[in-house]
């Protein structure tokens, strides 16, 4: 099942249409993106050098690997409809424990490796859970939290505990700076690679 490839002949008009594209107008961009979105374009590339256009409708979309995905996300609102990917890839909901933010807040895949939303976390360092377990903010019930948003932390400073197999594992900060966000609540189960804290590096 190889694809047929025939030499393309472009009419003069087509050549004109696609050839000489010159700089202008930012306002048009959003409209273009809206238009792409409306039309279910999943991918759109354009290079100027010697002009390269690539266009792909979302439905025709093969799985896009994460590195592409982040590029794509920056380029335009990617409508990512890869065939059988789970809507929520991490969905840990033990009875009695609150669902973790990714599952609770949206249906966007929360991945360990995927780029974080740029608007929230640009320039922030994310501390992730190196193990599966239960998150605790403080060394023992009732005692104060190791850290809270607004605190300044050093590299190696204990931020929290993740309990796994009855062992209390102290999670240390791998960056120095200000804690700007905690992603999980005490007692909540966390999986490998799950985001715990955002740190604004000093």
């Amino acid at each position: 099942m190889t694809a047929k490839k025939t030499d393309a002949r472009l009419s003069a008009k087509d050549k004109k249409r696609l050839a000489s594209m010159n700089p202008e107008e930012i306002a048009e961009l959003k409209e273009l993106i809206e238009f792409l979105k409306e039309n279910g374009i999943g991918e759109f590339d354009l290079e100027r050098g010697d002009l390269k256009v690539r266009l792909k409708f979302a439905g025709a979309g093969p799985q896009v690997d994460p590195s592409h995905l982040s590029q794509l996300a920056q380029f335009a609102a990617a409508q990512h409809a890869a065939a059988l990917q789970p809507a929520v890839v991490a969905h840990v909901h033990p009875v009695g424990a609150p669902a973790h933010p990714a599952a609770a807040a949206s249906s966007a895949p929360e991945t360990a490796t995927a780029a974080a939303p740029i608007d929230d976390e640009a320039g922030l360092h994310i501390v992730k859970s190196p193990i599966v377990g239960t998150f605790y903010e403080s060394p023992s019930p009732g005692s104060p939290a190791f850290v809270k948003p607004g605190d300044m932390v050093e590299v190696g400073q204990v931020l929290c505990i993740v309990e796994a197999m009855k062992l209390m594992n102290e999670i240390e900060s791998d960056a120095a700076g200000e804690i700007v966000k905690r992603f999980v609540t005490s007692g909540q189960p966390v999986e490998y690679g799950q985001k715990l804290f955002a740190v604004r590096p000093r």
Binding site: T113, T134, A164
Partner: protein
């Protein structure tokens, strides 16, 4: 019955266990490495927990990660699938210590069966035929000649300290023995610093035949007949069948009876497989026991109409075998399984990557067990099995015809698979006649090579 089960595996077997759980109304928890985020076992489980990076050692084989996941998901039991942690007695012990039911035999039994010599002794004690071997070291040529005479030629000399073929010699007559004994002894001494040798009966053309068993936690054992697994490449099974053409009803019943007695003595529990070698005269010799579900379990399911994974779950939940298998087990028709691997069908190099087209065959008598899909990705970190294609027909001939049309209709693009290899095997006269042994694939490749180079077949 369990409320919630964690599946400590990936790929088709994880999905297989999820199906069984769903059919029993059990909630499922998948665990996955970062490389398997988009896998179907993650998609179809009720819950899914990422337990580590792609490398198995840091995810699927990492006991603390699996147990932690089981604890935070609050499961009653863990199904280990095959491979990975399935025959790890320590893991079963940690499960027990964590008050999580391990779906398989108790760690003691797994451990016993994991130690080859102990397993042999246990089987021998229960009168299961084992491959004759010398008791301990053969001290001299004279002793070797005597032992060989007692079991008949051919025999094989092996280095007590070694492996990998060094110090190993097949002896086909008493005239050859003295020289080969010397050579083996010298080679073993040089290689391992220890010239000790022992001897075993040698089978020139062995078949690999295995018996499926189920055992409940109330002392009842049941044999579900055999599978023929001789089509192997480098000790990896490629094609399995049930029943074996070499096993008749009488033999099936006799072996079944022996196995039952043996496993009752051992205190075996859950599903298991007893592997035998069959010699040219149709005699069976025990090799080892697998204390888990096997890759090739579907062929037994097809001919018996049972569901072995559901049986595993029900046994682990303390049900009695008589409530699980309510009618006498009969073998209906013939089933064959082809393992479809993501490998080049001639060079056998692994072929990871994105699957662009994935059309599974269907229709009468066709079963596909897979966790792959169109636009899915085969990660390079794990074993290459991407699908099992199983067919069932009224006899071997119908099953073969069905397999051939199913292979033809199994379209996978974007990666290489062993589908073309299977098509070549199913076109092979020797295979079709059922005249094969574990060395079939070597001869098959030689025949192909000969055909290609124009030499006579």
């Amino acid at each position: 019955m369990f409320r919630k089960v964690l599946i400590a595996n990936r790929g088709e077997i994880a999905l297989r266990v999820i199906c069984a759980c769903k059919e029993l109304g059990i909630r499922t928890v998948a665990v996955y490495s970062e490389a398997d985020r988009n896998s179907l076992h993650v998609r179809f489980a009720d819950e899914a927990i990422c337990i580590g990076p792609p490398r198995s050692a840091e995810s699927y084989l990492h006991v603390p990660a699996v147990i932690s996941a089981a604890e935070i998901a609050d499961v009653d039991a863990i199904h280990p699938g095959y491979g990975l942690l399935s025959e790890n007695a320590n893991f079963a012990e940690v499960c027990r210590a964590s008050n999580i039911k391990f779906i398989g035999p108790p760690p003691e039994v797994t451990r016993l069966m994991g130690e080859k010599e102990k397993a042999r002794m246990a089987m021998k004690k229960a009168k299961v035929p084992i491959l004759p071997g010398s008791e301990g070291v053969i001290q001299s040529e004279g002793e070797a000649l005597e032992w060989a005479k007692s079991v008949g030629y051919p025999v094989i000399l092996k280095a007590s300290a070694g492996g990998g073929g060094r110090g190993m010699r097949v002896i086909r007559s008493k005239d050859e023995l003295p020289a080969l004994f010397q050579a083996a002894q010298t080679e073993a001494a040089n290689a391992f610093g220890n010239g000790d040798l022992y001897m075993e009966k040698f089978i020139e053309q062995p078949r690999h035949i295995e018996f499926q068993v189920l055992a409940d936690q109330h002392g009842n054992v049941m044999s579900l007949g055999e599978r023929e697994c001789s089509i192997q490449r480098r000790h990896q099974k490629l094609i399995e069948e049930a029943p074996s053409l070499q096993v008749d009803g009488k033999m099936r019943e006799e072996i079944g009876k022996t196995i039952r007695r043996c496993l009752e003595q051992i205190g075996y529990q859950n599903a298991g497989t007893i592997e035998f070698l069959m010699d040219e005269d149709g005699k069976l010799y025990f090799i080892e026991m697998n204390t888990r579900i096997q890759v090739e379990h579907p062929v037994t399911e097809m001919v018996t109409g049972l569901d072995l994974v559901k049986a595993q779950l029900r046994i682990a939940a303390d049900e009695k075998l008589s409530d699980i298998v309510t009618e006498p087990v009969t073998i209906r028709g013939h089933a064959i399984e082809c393992r479809v691997n993501a490998e080049h069908p001639e060079k056998f190099t692994p072929s990871a990557g994105r699957i662009s087209v994935f059309n599974v065959p269907g229709g009468n008598g066709v079963r596909v067990d897979t966790a792959q899909y169109a636009e899915g990705f085969v990660p390079p970190y794990y074993d290459s099995l991407i699908a099992k294609l199983i067919v069932h027909g009224k006899d071997r001939s119908e099953a073969m015809a069905r397999m051939q049309r199913s292979l033809e209709m199994f379209v996978v693009e974007g990666i290489h698979t062993t589908i073309p290899l299977h098509q070549r095997i199913f076109a092979d006269a020797e295979f079709r006649e059922g005249k094969f042994d574990t060395k079939f694939m070597e001869r098959f490749f030689e025949r192909e090579k000969a055909r290609l180079t124009g030499l006579p077949d």
